[in-house]
């Protein structure tokens, strides 16, 4: 088979795997749900278009010009989507290195592995582009509909950004591999991916908070300081933004440059992939010796379970990077708290963010401890009642939540005891609600499937988010001194009851 034919053959193989993987994610591995999944996807796309229309219609009526404020805003949007794409691509590259799946088969076959890796790098770029198109596409479509065909070029910019970010992800991960070795790269790349994914939006929020005292990201971009220091509108810095706004010449340069970068990175690194994959696979064979001799200490069944869950969470670098991501989003409100120390306004922003984050973090941890039990037979065959087992797991989650959020509550206590009480109550309510939802919707899964936990029950995912928002709203209402907060809390409880009513554990 010549080079082109084998590239095409590998591409078809990858396309089939990617398609089945995507279908399995949409249907949670149940082929009978395929039709329903398509209906949901269509409904989701329509909903996104409606949201996009509501958000974009004002911009359209203002007749957008390629002036400096517009170029800055569009560039910020491109960077925002680029940071998410880079994070996703870094995750994909790390997965290619460390997940064995079909690599042993391919590396043992008499084919040039670099062709497969070239195709895989291409597939990563494609998947990053598709993910962005899924989220940004509705906005672009609305702009095309309301403002004209020139907006079609925004799709070209998304493709260019995906090519550049995938190239960057490959280069960063391979450089990490060379600098710190295969063992540390796995953790470092996962943490870097998590940080990259959030750093741009967090940076903007932080800057906005210090400049205007709010978390309005775009406010800082339109400030006089930024406008005064920004390059002139004809600078190449703005080419991607100008291309997105419909400038054909800039689009051509942006696409050509990104394609060149992508081809150069692929040509340079694809031949080395096989060596790195082999180095990474040998790492997973070697387990790390623990420091010092083990001191045997037997606890009660519940305490043993709590300790086990905490050890497993602490020793999972990927999970820590995901949690770090959620905690990173807490840094702007934490700064706000510090900035507005002693003023009442800060808590109105801080408390809902804390409550919302607690709900989401507790949901993830509860899934890991309840559904992601790696030795279900062992735990079920133990002489411990199921109720006691589940309670111990819930307690383990609440302990983690307590450790993460205690510093915020402690600082709030110095500002106002009442605000600290509302924050603690909101965090507790949101975390307990998420744990309850995970209990009601539990289904046995492998811990390694954490990334796909949302696909097993969309109702649970949606409910977790909605109820966290409801508790966050309650926290905001309470902290602002409004006496209507019991109604908001009642609404959150009502939602929780509805979820209970819909849950499979009630029906079984």
């Amino acid at each position: 088979m010549n080079a082109i034919a084998s590239l095409v053959w590998f591409a078809r193989h990858e396309r089939r795997l990617a398609w089945r993987d995507a279908l399995s994610m949409m249907t949670a591995g149940r082929p009978d749900r395929e039709r329903r999944a398509w209906i949901w996807l269509c409904a989701f796309a329509i909903a996104l278009h409606v949201i996009a229309y509501l958000l974009v219609r004002n911009f359209v009526s203002q007749q957008m010009q390629a002036d400096l404020p517009t170029l800055i805003a569009v560039t910020a949007s491109i960077l925002l989507s680029g940071s998410a794409m880079l994070s996703q691509a870094m995750e994909s590259v790390t997965r290619t290195f460390y997940s064995r799946s079909d690599l042993e088969l391919i590396l043992s076959a008499p084919v040039k592995a670099e062709r497969l890796f070239a195709v895989r790098i291409g597939a990563m770029a494609l998947s990053a582009a598709l993910m962005s198109i899924l989220l940004m596409g509705p906005f672009i479509n609305v702009l095309i509909w309301r403002d004209g065909w020139q907006w079609l070029s925004a799709y070209g910019v998304l493709i260019a950004v995906s090519l550049v970010t995938t190239s960057l992800a490959v280069a960063i991960t391979i450089k990490l591999f060379q600098w710190i070795g295969p063992r540390r790269t796995r953790v470092a790349a996962q943490i870097t991916a998590a940080i990259v994914g959030g750093v741009f939006v967090i940076g903007l929020q932080t800057a906005a908070m210090f400049s205007s005292g709010t978390l309005q990201r775009l406010s800082v971009l339109q400030s006089e300081t930024v406008l005064a220091h920004a390059p002139a509108p004809d600078s190449p810095v703005w080419w991607p933004a100008a291309a997105a706004l419909g400038n054909g010449r800039d689009l051509f340069f942006v696409l050509a440059a990104s394609l060149l970068v992508f081809l150069a990175v692929t040509a340079r690194y694809a031949p080395r992939f096989a060596g790195y994959v082999l180095a990474a696979s040998s790492v997973s064979e070697i387990s790390r010796p623990a420091a010092g001799a083990h001191r045997f200490k037997v606890l009660s069944p519940a305490a043993s379970l709590r300790r086990k869950e905490q050890l497993l969470i602490l020793r999972d670098p990927w999970l820590i990077s995901q949690s770090l991501m959620q905690l990173l989003y807490l840094s702007p409100p934490a700064l706000l708290l510090w900035h507005n120390y002693g003023k009442a306004g800060g808590a109105v922003v801080l408390v809902p963010v804390l409550v919302m984050t607690a709900g989401q973090l507790a949901g993830g941890l509860a899934w890991l401890t309840i559904s992601g039990e790696d030795a279900p037979d062992l735990v079920q065959s133990a002489p411990v009642t199921p109720g006691r087992l589940l309670r111990a797991k819930a307690e383990a989650v609440m302990q983690c939540i307590g450790i993460v959020f205690f510093p915020f509550i402690a600082v709030l206590l110095f500002v106002s005891r009442q605000q600290a009480f509302y924050a603690a109550a909101g965090i507790g309510a949101a975390a307990l609600s998420s744990i309850a939802i995970q209990l009601w919707f539990r289904s046995q899964a492998k811990r390694s499937q954490f990334r796909r936990r949302h696909t097993s029950s969309r109702i649970a995912t949606l409910a977790e988010a909605l109820i966290s928002i409801a508790w966050a709203g309650t926290g905001a209402v309470a902290v602002s001194g409004n006496s209507l907060w019991p109604f908001s809390a009642g609404f959150a409880l009502f939602l929780l009851l509805c979820v209970r009513w819909l849950s499979p554990s009630r029906l079984s």
Binding site: V298, R315, D377, P383, V384, T385
Partner: protein, 254 residues
């Protein structure tokens, strides 16, 4: 085989056990395992062996029937029954991020084994199973054989009176399989009862006090090797010949 007093309850008594997953997996099974014996359950794929063992271990709820472990009603008092039972499946499920001693510490905690007793037993089991040199490593890098040994240590750390093992030798090399067999025989000599399924008929011939043959969810033959030879009327036949003959007879009778 150690003989138990007439008044002592059997290690395991199963009566009229049924479980259906759309079609019957276990269909009115009656089985009795005496205290202190090594009982082997044989049967073709899909015969209902694993389903039976999972119901005895409290991992599956039967549709009908009764299970008593040393006189304890496993359905009415599952905690009491689990306290004296140890379970090991063919797929060793352990925690990758824990070291073997941490895993045993966790299991000892679940079974409420006193700390000093659990510590000495764990060290003994780790030494016995050749895991001592790996005691400070996390299980994530362990081979299948080593994982199975860690899981076996977990099943034995609380000194269960009834040890239930589902295909414990699958995928083990000769050395590891010999070690596991030695450990189990030692446990039977020490007074424990072993109920085990296997596809390796040589083990049944060499280790079992009694053999039960299960097909289509029912016990179709039971006894010592000599009993089974007499039943099939094939003097000097190997267990493999007898097993195939019994299963064929059962299929023909359907």
């Amino acid at each position: 085989m150690p003989s138990s007093p007439a008044s002592a309850p059997p290690a395991l008594s199963i009566t009229g056990l049924r479980k259906s997953f759309g079609r019957p997996a276990v269909d009115g099974l009656d089985l009795e395992v005496r205290a202190g014996e090594f009982y082997l359950l044989l049967g073709p794929n899909g015969a209902g062996k694993t389903t039976t063992l999972r119901m005895v271990s409290g991992l599956l709820k039967p549709d009908a029937g009764a299970i008593r472990i040393f006189g304890v009603d496993a359905l009415a008092d599952p905690i009491g029954a689990k306290q004296i039972t140890g379970w090991l499946s063919d797929e060793p499920m352990i925690y990758d991020k824990l070291t073997p001693p941490e895993y045993l510490e966790f299991v000892a905690g679940l079974w409420s084994v006193p700390g000093d007793v659990a510590g000495s037993r764990s060290r003994e089991l780790l030494r016995w199973l050749g895991l001592e040199p790996h005691a400070r490593e996390r299980c994530e890098g362990f081979s299948r054989g080593m994982r199975q040994k860690v899981a076996l240590a977990g099943a034995l750390v609380h000194e269960p009176r009834l040890i239930i093992l589902d295909e414990p030798l699958t995928g083990l090399d000769a050395g590891a399989a010999r070690l596991v067999k030695d450990v189990l025989q030692e446990k039977v000599r020490g007074g424990s009862t072993v109920l085990m399924t296997t596809h390796i008929l040589e083990i049944a011939e060499r280790m079992a006090d009694r053999i039960g043959v299960i097909a289509q969810g029912r016990l179709i033959a039971e006894g010592t090797l000599a009993d089974l030879r007499a039943r099939t009327g094939r003097e000097g036949a190997t267990l493999e010949d007898m097993f195939l003959s019994l299963v064929d007879q059962d299929r023909a009778a359907e």
